[in-house]
Structure formats: C-alpha cells, structure tokens
Amino acid sequence: MDKEYLKISELNNYIKNLLDGDIFLNRVYLKGEISNFKNHTRGHLYFTLKDDTSRISAVMFQSSAVKLTFTPEDGMNVLVSGRISAYPAQGSYQIYIDKMEVDGLGALYIEYEKLKKKLAMMGLFDENHKVPIPKFPEKIGVITASTGAAVRDIMSTIKRRYPICEAILFPCLVQGKDAAPDIVRQIKRADAYGVDTIIVGRGGGSIEDLWAFNEEIVAKAIYECKTPIISAVGHEIDWTIADFVADLRAPTPTGAAEMAVPTVLDINTLLDNYKIRLNRNIKNMVNTKFIKLRSLKQSFILKNPMSMYEIKEQKLDALIENINKDIKSIIVNKENLLNNIKLSYTLKNPMELIKDKKVKFEMLINTLKLVNPLGILEKGYSLVECNGKIIKDSNDTKVNDYINIKLHKGKIKAEVKEIMEDK
C-alpha cells in the first residue's frame, strides 16, 4: 500500500487552516502571566502567557501594541483577547493578541486612589492655586486628539458661541502609554505659545482609555501651567486626576468650550443693558439738576434782588456806627494819657531835675579848691621865683639877684641883699 507522504509545510498549513476556520478560536479571552517578554525593535511584542500548569506563545503586533496603556513586563498578570492561529514555520500555535490590559480594574483603581492621595498631599489640588478662567478670551489652546468627537465638539462650540475667538489645536495622543508625555509636551507648548485659556481633554472611554489623564506627569504639567486650564475628560461621571488639578473641570468637551467662551448674544444683551442703565442714569441726573436749578431760580433772593441791597445797607450802617464808637474811645484814651502827663511831678518841679547835679557840682569845686596850689597863698604863704623857677632853698639864689614874690594878691619884685642858711 502506497503511503502518501506529506511535506511538513503541508501539514502545518492544514492545521493552520483548521485553527483559522474555528469560530471559537477566532476570538479567545485569556488570562495569564507574562514571561519571556521580548520587545522587538519593530514594535511587535513576543512573549509567553502561562498559568500554573500550561503555557502558550503570544504575539502582539505593533499596530495593537501602540494602544497599550502600560508597559508589559515579565510576571505581570494580564487579560488578553485575540485569535488562535498556527505559525507554520515553527509548527507551533500561538495567540495573536489585539487587546491587553492589566488584570483587574482593582489594581488600576488602587493606583488611582494612591496617586490622588499623594498629589492632594503635595497641594496639587489646592483651590488657592487655581486661577480664574478669562471671561472674554481671544485665543484658546485646545489639547486633544486631532480626530474624533472631542475636538469637533470643542472647536464647533467655540466657533458657534464666540466666533471672534481663535481656537488653536495642539494635537496629541489621548490614549496609550505615549499619550501622557505627549499631553505634557503640548501643555507646555500651548503655555509658551501664549493663549488666554487652555482646554485639555478627550472624549469618553474606559478607565484604561482615560488613563493618561491620571498620570502624575500630566497632573504636574497642569499644575505648573501658567495659563488657566479647563479639563474635559470623558463624560460627566469620569473624574480623572487631571480634573482635580485643573483650574476648572468641565463635564464634557462641549461643556469645556461653553465654560471657556461667552456667547455673542449674551454680550450683546449685556451691552444693551449697560446702555439702558447709562441713559437712564444721565437722564435722572440732568433731571435732578434741572429741578434744583428751577427751585434756585424761584428762591426769595433771586426774585427780590432789592432785598439783597437792603441787607447790605443795614450792614453798612452798623459798620459806620461801630467805627464811630471806636474812634471816640481812642480819642478819650489819648486825652487821659495827656492829662496824666501834664499832671506829673517832674513837669511841675523842673528844678528837681537839676537839684542833684548842682550839689554835686559844688562838691567838685570845693575839692578843686583844696588841691589848687594857689589856694595856700590865701592863708598867708608866698611863692618865690628866681629866674622863672620857684625856689625852695636860699642857696638857689645869689645876692643881687632879682626875685619875684607872689602873694595871695599881687606880686613884689625884690633884690636879694643877703643869703642866710639854716644853721
């Protein structure tokens, strides 16, 4: 009996077709632990999934791997979905994974709560760090994916409500593990670019989809951003870390746009309101002044100008009277003073003024008399002169000299007959 021998490739292809044709194996959900993890340079992931007793090879191609919200590593428990197929070249079957997540939302939730607590402690959610959103922005930076409902909702809402505002998209990834750094980068870019308000967010999704907005680096970037930030992540019920840090949290992307800009209609109404108030006010003011003016015009004084004159007349009289009174009293004062002077003792006894002087004078004369050298002659003494000199010694003269003798009254000219000395 001739046996028909198959080539290996024929067998492997047969088995592959068998597996590919099985509708159950087309969509398989598995849970297991990662081992032998290899990240190929081209972005494909190769690893083994195992449990306590069994293992299966696993492949995740780059197109699916970019959507991962975490970096897989050995020992990690994961939930995967994909299809089972054979790899004929190796004669092995494996799972081709298109979705993978960390096993258990519980783990993510715990991480979320832990980070939330940590950032709250660090003060990232502090109300007094939050800044108010400008009421009438001229430029708004929008940080979200360039496709999808979120960007469309935000952009169209801004345009519809407040078309004079410029909305600038800073496109970024909003899911996958590269999303968080990308969001951070665009927040910094928008902050540096100079916009009045930043809206950062994305549309709804699972907790993994929104995970980038729960990352610490995103929270810190929002905190450090100087431009006011409105967060708009997912739906009303989704609260991400980013929402706690942002200056304002919007329930949805559309809501963020509504919070970011007023409507033209609202402003027009406000302007009209201002105009009405201004007109009413100025009218009131003019009216009040007019009434006041009219009442002033009708005042007694303006109606009876002569009364003003009468009052002045009266005042003048009073003034004149006062002046007269004053002058009179001044004159009386002066008169009294003059009389007092006239009656004074000195004026009546002018000799009194010189009496003292006379006595003094007489005393001086007597004193002079006492010291006058000629005064002594009165008492009978004489002065003898010889040759113009007064002599005190008989030897000062000679016989036959002529001498003058001065007496109290008159002089005698005599000739010396004899000189006698005292013995």
Partner: protein, 72 residues
C-alpha cells in the same frame, strides 16, 4: 481711546463707569464726559463683537506652523 484696547478691558471699563454713575458720586460735568466715554466703549465692544470676521479654527503643527484646521 487707545487703539490696542482689548475687548475685555473695554467691557470692564464700561462696567466700571456704569456702576460709578449709578453710585451718584459724580458731578454732572464729569458724568457727561463719562457717559460719552461709556457710549464710545459700548460702540467699540459692539463693533468688535459683531463686525469682526469670524476666526478660523487653527492647528499648530509640529513645525510650529499655524494652519487652518477643519474638524471632521
């Protein structure tokens, strides 16, 4: 009114004048000047709001180029 006034600052100024006039602490001459100023501000705001051409949505590309953006 200087040219570089922004819509927001004009609107704020307008609000301040309205409140000031309503406080009644302004004499008539000043009030009339302020009223004139306020009406100018209101006109400026209205014009800026209603006559300005609508802005086109933009996208800032990786090359720092500002391009027109149409959300599909």
């Amino acid at each position: 009114m200087e040219k570089e006034k922004t819509f927001e600052s004009a609107l704020q100024e307008l609000e301040t004048i309205v409140k000031e006039l309503e406080s009644g602490n302004v004499d008539l001459d000043k009030a009339i000047n302020k009223y004139t100023e306020a009406m100018k501000l209101a006109k400026f705001c209205s014009e800026k709001l209603n006559d300005a051409t609508a802005q086109v949505n933009k996208i800032l590309t990786e090359d720092n180029e500002l391009k027109e953006f149409n959300a599909e």
